[in-house]
């Protein structure tokens, strides 16, 4: 087990190092940061001073070394837009995105697992057909449009939910639903097909022959076996929500999380803040992957952690 953690951490560090190189290269070599950040009418002296302030006048390898050293201390420098340390902003916004993802994906799991199981019990039955149709619909609807539809429906028409922001607990309902519904659609299909596979396995017949209650056979014996592919998708969905969908959903609902901040940083050419956000996203992805490996092992003892 210790060996496993050690190896995974090394792998994770390699991935993060790779991301760091890309971030460094993209921000320094694609275009001139000084040109992007300073107003067009700034003088040459101003440009030189700014370049010096950012350390851009020194050789590239020294810059990279310093960049790595700063990252090790989680110091990306001051955000050009907000004039305070970029990491402070990230730590302030990240919990909001984690909350949104947790509620959204949590809702998707809680709904998808029973729905998928019920559909799998009678493939081709009424519940099954409605579920499959519903999830195909959910898969085909673009997320931003779904968000706008919710706003028009629940905030404008019925006036029962707030449009945007994060002032009260009610504010999370629409963004979390928007985040969770496409996930729910994908998840329900997978739970359904995995459970259909498992329910046809011989050990299910054995369990029934042992006289075990229906709920135990389906909800414990079969579900745990179906758990592996389902958890793979859940992990993948968490990653995509944290580091992808959050941008769309938070923009639509003005949810003060890391995704909205990323968009704002890009609009303001705040390269320092963008670097911090991309780096944080990479760390999240690596961490979730390691966590998923542990969950796999918990579900299926046959897997060896290597």
């Amino acid at each position: 087990m210790g060996r496993f953690i050690y190896r995974r951490l090394i792998h994770g560090l390699i991935v993060i190092f790779g991301v760091t190189i890309i971030v460094f290269v993209v921000t320094r070599m694609v275009g001139d940061p000084v040109q992007v950040m300073l107003p067009l009418e700034s003088t040459l002296e101003q440009r030189a001073a700014f370049e010096k302030k950012l350390g851009l006048d020194r050789p590239i390898y020294i810059q990279f070394g310093e960049f790595l050293g700063n990252i090790a201390r989680l110091d990306f420098g001051e955000s050009l837009w907000q004039k305070r340390p970029a990491m402070d902003i990230v730590f302030e916004k990240l919990p909001m995105t984690i909350l949104l993802t947790a509620v959204g994906i949590g809702f998707a799991c809680v709904a998808a697992i029973p729905l998928g199981i019920i559909a799998a019990l009678r493939p081709g039955g009424m519940v099954d057909r409605v579920t499959v149709f519903g999830s195909l619909l959910g898969l085909s609807v673009p997320q931003f449009w779904l968000g706008l539809l919710f706003i028009v429906l629940f905030a404008v028409q019925f006036k029962i939910l707030p449009t945007s922001g994060a002032a009260t607990p009610a504010h999370i309902i629409m963004p979390a639903l928007t985040m969770g519904l496409p996930t729910l659609a994908r998840l329900v299909m997978l739970v359904r097909s995995s459970m259909i596979d498992e329910l046809n396995q011989q050990y299910v017949k054995t369990s029934f022959a042992k006289g075990l209650p229906f709920v135990r056979v389906v909800g414990l014996h079969a579900l745990r076996n179906a758990g592996l592919p389902v958890m793979t998708l859940v992990g993948w969905e968490v990653i995509r929500s944290l580091a992808g969908y959050s941008v769309v959903v938070e923009t639509v609902f003005a949810w003060p999380g890391i995704g909205l901040t990323a968009i704002q940083a890009i609009e303001r050419d705040d390269l320092i803040l963008i670097q911090a956000i991309v780096f944080t996203a990479a760390v999240c992805v690596v961490a979730i992957n390691i966590a998923m490996d542990f969950i796999y092992k918990l579900i299926d003892p046959r897997l060896k952690l290597t």
Binding site: R122, Q201, Q202, Y203, K205, T206, S207, F208, A209, K210, G211, L212, P213, R216, H221, R224, N225, I299, D300, P301, R302
Partner: protein, 330 residues
């Protein structure tokens, strides 16, 4: 509940099971009747698709979509398993008084739970044992099926065990609640030959020691001759001959039984090539009229197209063959 020695432990009467598939209605069991007495071993033989497994799965209440039990009745200890009261009854006896051992031990155990969990859950569910009691009993059971170091084994997963070992675990699980009837559905088919012998020996030994009744489904006639008191031969969803095992083997009456026995390879007779029965089993979506074996039977005549019934022939022997009843083939 009627539970004296005169009522057979299990009685299946005219069981009809149909499977509603896309291709049509498969008549898997077309009026099967048999009895199993207390402490008796009944062998059911027949080729694949003859309805052996379907008949016993009906006893266990394991027929599920698209299959349906559409006729006949099943009595266990005098109580019907199919009437409304029986549905409750079957939930109590399944896994407790009637236990089943399946064909393929590699897939019959749940891969993600330990052996211990899978044995103890039966004990805890049916006998209301607590964790410690169930664990102790599970260790005894593993000992009973000759598995050593039971304490260690309980913590193992099926993938850590060989096929023979897993089948022993299945048998231990079946024995958990001291059942009155064990149904073994081809328990050795998936095992290699030496392990087959061990498992059969174990079954025979347990059957005698625990005085439990056994239904043994197999297509190995040698196994039946070795272990069974009585034998029922199935063909195309019907029993064609049933009787005392020794007698059936010594003097088979039904042409199909004769064919099966002829087709069994023997060590003491040198043959050029394997003997087989010509033709193929009938399609159970539209089974032939009358005797289903008649298209493959060299003694078939017009009378064989009429419905056949199991007819007593003396010595507790029943056969469903027009020609045999006429008495000229015995």
């Amino acid at each position: 509940m009627n539970d004296n020695q005169n009522t057979p432990l299990l009685e299946v009467r005219n069981l009809v099971v149909n499977f509603y598939t896309r291709g049509g209605v498969v008549q898997a069991s077309r009026g099967v009747s048999f009895q199993v007495g207390h402490g008796q071993t009944l062998g059911i033989v027949g080729e694949s698709g003859s309805g052996k497994s379907v008949a016993v799965q009906a006893v266990m209440g394991l027929i599920s979509n698209p299959g349906r039990i559409e006729g006949g009745d099943i009595f266990f200890m005098g109580q019907s398993l199919l009437d409304p009261a029986g549905r409750k009854f079957v939930r109590k006896v399944r896994g407790k008084d009637i236990a089943m051992i399946f064909q393929d031990p590699m897939t019959s155990l749940n891969p993600v739970f330990t052996i211990g969990t899978q044995i103890t859950e039966v004990l805890r569910h049916h006998l209301g044992m607590n964790r410690d009691q169930a664990r102790k009993r599970a260790m005894d059971l593993l000992g009973l099926v000759d598995i050593n170091a039971p304490e260690k084994r309980l913590k193992q997963y099926p993938y850590e065990m060989s096929g023979g070992m897993r089948q022993r675990v299945m048998i231990a699980m079946a024995l958990a609640c001291e059942p009155r009837l064990i149904i073994a559905d081809e328990p050795t088919t998936a095992l290699d030959v030496t392990i087959q012998a061990q498992i059969l020996e174990l079954l025979a030994d347990l059957q005698q020691r625990l005085a439990v009744s056994v239904i043994l489904i197999t297509h190995d006639l040698g196994v039946v001759a070795q272990l069974c008191h009585r034998v029922a031969v199935m063909y195309a969803g019907r029993i064609v001959e049933v009787g005392d095992a020794d007698q059936v083997f010594a003097s088979p009456v039904h042409p199909y039984t004769k064919g099966l026995i002829r087709a069994t390879p023997r060590l003491d007779v040198v043959t050029e090539r394997m003997v087989s029965i010509d033709g193929v089993p009938p399609d159970l979506i539209s089974p032939p009229q009358g005797c289903a074996f008649s298209p493959r039977c060299d003694q078939a005549e017009n009378a064989c197209l009429r419905p056949q019934t199991l007819t007593p022939l003396g010595d507790d022997r029943h056969v469903s063959c027009w020609c045999a009843i006429k008495g000229d083939t015995r």
